[in-house]
Amino acid sequence: MLELKDITKSYTPGNPVLRDINLSVAAGDIVCLLGPSGCGKTTLLRVVAGLEKLDSGAIFFDQVNLAPVEIHKRNFGFMFQEYALFPHKSVGQNVAFGLRMADWPAAEIKPRVAEMLDLVDLQGYAERTIFELSGGERQRVALARSLAPNPRLLMLDEPLGSLDRSLREELMTELRIILKEIGVTALYVTHDQEEAFAIADQIVLLNAGKIEQSGPPAEVYAQPGSEFAARFLGFQNLLTTQIHAADPSVARTSIGPITLLQPSPVGTHTLLIRPDALILLPAPQPDAHSAVVRTTSFRGDHVRVQFDATTGVTLTVQLPVDVGVIQTGETLYFRVDPKKVVLLG
């Protein structure tokens, strides 16, 4: 449905914010643009909406090139990070704005507004002013407003960014339900990977203007494509590893050899050890690794432990709560579960 071909964009010459972006979005999909601040994700969104001009490349929607199409004719929806609700209009007038611009007959506008407010769980709010609303309520109004005119594509720019944690958690799942119920195709921008996983059908990871990796959330999480991806997703145990031709199923690291599930390409790689990959051993064993506990931190459903391995590498792992008392300075022996390591590029 939406095709981005070789998109390049810079704000200042010589400093491209987007570099050769190629992306396909299928109808009805929720695609999440994920990445750290400054990676270009908001710019990409704005370029699709027509709020910024491209330097080169083309955007196709339904096979139609969007270049000559003006912003107000694209029939897209856009939810801004700070909502951008019209302060001089009521909630109902805000939601009705797009409908009026599309010249809907007055008789149809009122029920549609009610329907939209119903959808976002703000029944009866039509007469209120913007100033009376809480942050979460404003976000819902912004959503209702952008969905009301039935946009062909909805763009959301960090819509949960300014909400507190518990509200964000609640709205994350609700947002996906609403979007799926309407069936609208959506481009969603965020820097929070948890949010991305909760909402997206497809994740597109952006790094300094380039697409680093894309795929369904489970796949991206299971198989991060690069060290950047792994770090961004929150993984911390990234070790440099060598694979020798003599033994392609063993990854040699600074904490010792780690068995891999299958033979892998020879050379230098980065190895990701998942936080739950460690199997604690009660007593030292010949092929076990050892490490000294540096810090422990109770996290509710797990214990977070930082190890200093023999060669000065620090591992951060999650151990189940029933692991018992672990002292700082204690030496622990463990094996690494081969199913829970990932060889990165």
């Binding site: 912003i71 107000h72 700070e82 951008a84 609700l85 001089h88 611009m101 952008s146």
Partner: protein, 571 residues
């Protein structure tokens, strides 16, 4: 204890000053108009107010102010748009140049326009030479258009800066949201931009209307005998016809109208500065894209600069080229000479000295009073410097709000009151003090102090109380806090206020005309006299002195521009 008493007295000085030098003269005006031969005589008041000539004058004053305001807004809005949306080379300089007219003394403006577009002005001379005409083709200076032009000239910068400042702080996301939702340019303007901009436009228009309504020097000099605003009529009644009761009654009318306008204005100002969106973003300005936009932009700016600068340049040019001798400095040289038959009673340079002295006095006095007033007007609970006590946050907030809500327009009142009325009040009220030369700086102070307040108050309001609190927690005494925290931040505002006061005093005309002693004239007075006298020498000297005044005022503006904070809520 005594210290506190002394300090409380210090803080009440502005009010005392206002009472004695403003309200008291006004009260005497009231008395003079209402009480004839020791008895309350409303009849003469009604008589004056219902006289047909009064209604004619009032009508003229109103419609010319309204028309001037309309023209100013129509010219100012596109310029405000340009300045708030675009970035281009020379932007700061051009903005300063557009503001130059605002600080120009009225005599300078009148002289400048006459030089440019009068019957013997430069434009007419060129047109006559170019088209071989016998009669000067441009007669605008004889019509009301001359006055209107001068008003637009003065006030465009007010629109550009206040509306422009507001516009550039309008959240750009709002218009983006509207566009994405399907609004084309026209609907965007109608549905989002104009409604949000309206409070600011109305407030700025009101201010411009007020300035045009109380216009004196421009109408007196350019209007000749045909046109008279209320101000000019007051002057005529007082000085030419010696009809003080009539002048006093008209003054009351003037005060009532301007007070009404000022009250509406301050209310609107407060509303316009309320944050519209909880987190507003300063608009990012872009360079114009494409030849089309560049062309429009440069065209508009060029036209604006021509309108606003050509009269002043014409003035300067003429001061060097008057007569047939080509480029000459003779008129400037004449300023140092005191010819026996000259229109000036004193050597013109003496007038320069007088003006400078008065300006310095005004500057000091209005700075003191203005800063004290600003501290009184700040609505947030604040520590009055040196007094050490914080205004009680818990007790009677309603009362505090009411008093500061009332004080605000009261302190602004001299700004809106006609300078002529003020002068008149002094003539009536000051008794033997009437001939004191000190009345001039006092009148100037009254007129200049509101500008100091309006400059200082926003700076004061922007002081974060948390800075002060954290300093106090870290052990700084109240006076130390004031010295270390407030002072550096406020120094700039004080500097701007001081230069404002100085420049205003230099160019003040209306009140000075009534109050000055003939032997201690100021530059504007001297120029005014010379403009009215025949002879090339007198006229040339008037032009020369006007040019000097113009340059000094422009320098004052440059200093103001350098040190001023931000644009929003200037007036």
């Amino acid at each position: 204890m005594l210290r506190r008493l002394a300090l409380r007295f210090l803080y009440s000085l502005p009010l005392l000053f206002l009472v004695f030098f403003f309200f008291y003269p006004l009260a005497r005006i009231l008395q003079r108009s209402l009480i004839v031969d020791g008895q309350l005589d409303l009849g003469s008041v009604f008589g004056t107010l219902t006289a047909p000539f009064v209604w004619k004058v009032l009508w003229f004053t109103t419609w010319q102010a309204a028309l001037s305001t309309l023209c100013t807004v129509l010219i100012g809005l596109p310029l405000a748009y340009i300045f708030s949306h675009y970035e281009f080379p020379g932007k700061t300089i051009i903005k300063a140049l557009i503001t130059v007219p605002f600080v120009m003394p009225t005599v300078v403006v009148a002289a400048a326009f006459t030089t440019l577009a009068g019957s013997n002005g430069l434009l007419n001379q060129w047109l006559e030479a170019a088209f071989l005409l016998n009669e000067p083709p441009l007669q605008i200076m004889r019509s009301v258009w001359g006055i209107l032009l001068a008003h637009v000239f003065y006030n465009v910068s007010v629109i550009v800066r206040t509306v422009g400042g507001f516009w550039s702080n309008l959240n750009p996301r709002l218009s983006e949201a509207a566009q994405v939702l399907g609004a084309n340019r026209l609907r965007l303007l109608r549905e989002v931009t104009l409604p949000l901009l309206l409070p600011s436009i109305v407030a700025a228009s009101l201010l411009v209307f007020l300035f045009c309504f109380t216009s004196f020097g421009v109408v007196l000099i350019l209007g000749g005998l045909r046109f008279a605003t209320l101000e000019v009529e007051i002057y005529r009644q007082a000085v030419s016809l010696f009809n003080l009761p009539a002048a006093a009654t008209l003054s009351l009318l003037q005060i009532a109208i301007t007070f009404a306008i000022m009250t509406v204005y301050t209310r609107l100002q407060a509303r316009a500065s309320r944050p519209l969106e909880m987190n507003s973003q300063t608009r990012m300005t872009n360079r114009p894209s494409g030849a089309h936009e560049w062309l429009l932009l440069s065209g508009a700016l060029l036209a604006a600069l021509i309108l606003l600068l050509s009269p002043l340049l014409a003035l300067a040019w003429r001061s060097f080229t008057l007569g047939d001798a080509g480029f000459t400095l003779q008129y400037y040289a004449e300023l140092t000479v005191n010819r026996r038959n000259s229109a000036f009673f004193v050597a013109p340079l003496v007038a320069v000295r007088n003006s400078l002295l008065y300006a310095l006095m005004t500057m000091c006095l209005s700075l003191i009073l203005g800063i004290l007033s600003a501290y009184l007007l700040v609505r947030r609970p604040t520590t009055l410097p040196l007094l050490g006590d914080t205004v009680d946050r818990t007790a009677r907030p309603a009362k505090r709000k009411f008093s500061s809500a009332l004080l605000d327009p009261i302190f602004l009142l001299p700004l809106g009151t006609s300078a002529v009325t003020l002068g008149l009040g002094y003539i009536i009220a000051m008794g033997s003090l009437r001939t004191s030369p000190l009345l001039v700086p006092i009148a100037h102070t009254l007129i200049a102090t509101p500008f100091v307040v309006r400059t200082f108050l926003p700076a004061l309001r922007s002081l974060d109380p948390r800075l002060r609190e954290s300093a106090a927690v870290m052990g700084a005494s109240p006076s130390r806090v004031w010295r270390e925290i407030d002072l550096p931040l406020l120094f700039r505002a004080a500097l701007v206020g001081a230069v404002f006061a100085f420049t205003i005093s230099l160019g003040e005309f209306g009140a000075t005309l009534l109050v000055t002693r003939p032997d201690i004239p100021t530059m504007p007075i001297v120029i005014f006299r010379a403009l009215g006298e025949p002879g090339l020498l007198n006229y040339g000297q008037a032009l020369a002195m006007s040019t000097i005044l113009m340059v000094v005022s422009a320098i004052g503006l440059v200093i103001i521009e350098q040190f001023r904070f931000g644009d929003v809520g200037e007036f």
